[in-house]
Amino acid sequence: MKLVIKTVTKPGSTRANKTGAWRSFMPVFDHKLCSKCGICAIYCPEGIVYKLENGYFEPDYEYCKGCGICANECPKKAIKMVLEGK
């Protein structure tokens, strides 16, 4: 890796760091209860809850830190935090 002067770094290169390894709990999304409001996507601090083609939402587990904000905010209680087995 060549060192670039000016401590200049390329945009979005943090994507190389998979923060999904951080979590203990993972959010499980139940689309049957989901009202497609999008609040989970808005309030995810990692910005990794994405809208699927069918309008429902799914997290990118490679980056999800398991903070639980999505589960806490979901008005339909459609997201459950589940202890992740290793």
Binding site: S13, P45, G47, D60
Partner: protein
Amino acid sequence: MSLLKPGHRGCAGCGDALAGKFVLDALGEDVIVVSPTGCLEVFTTPYPESAWGVPWVHSLFENAAAVASGVEAALKSLGRKNKTKIVAIGGDGATLDIGLQAISGAFERGHDFTYICVDNEAYMNTGIQRSGATPLYANTTTSPPGRISSGNPLYKKNMPAIIAAHGSPYVATASIAYAPDMMKKVKKAAEIKGPTYVHVHAPCSTGWKFDGSKTIEVGKLAVETALWPLYEMENGEITTVRKIKNRKPVEEYLKVQGRFKHLFTMAGENPNIKKIQEIADRNVKQFGLE
């Protein structure tokens, strides 16, 4: 996909990260961001990575507004300003304390830029020390409760009023817990010509001691108890206010945070909590929140 990319080192449930995300997503790609030293700067740019999807520069702790002034001057001089927005995003320590001089100078000179203060109410990146934004009686490592102390004995510095006194055309308060409102205000601030300011409440689970899943919930309680009034000021006059239906007593907000738990160890009426309630009551009066 957000312009604040994943993989950054923010805590799980980080309020600063949400603030950064909302600012970028409100403004789009044509923005240059200036950050002072702080959590947001540190956890987004560990060499050789960067989470910022827009041009970004970090110099020192106290000079974001001066650096932003220079960026603005350069773009003007080089004929590259066009519609590009210049946004400084700094924490409360960098903004209310050590960076105040540079902000005052930049606002007095009238540079066309927006300063967004992401306020988690302490110096968080250095391990939760008291800043000028730390609220009354909050526990921080340099204002801890003890045998003869109830925590931070000082009131929060009123930064929006200071900025308004500089003649800024637009000053607003916002909260990450009210994302559409925050994004609307950020967009408006950026579009208004001249130096504008948005003060954003960003609850910090690590520093305030609550579970990371409650970041938005805590933010909402701050607003619902009138401790964090949401308003806009244009040319020094308050133009909009978010009214509160069914205002909650401040205990509802204080009791869910570890940084205030020392206030609840006294039996009977607590004079400290009463003082905090008075702050909320004053806000209701001053801003017409009910």
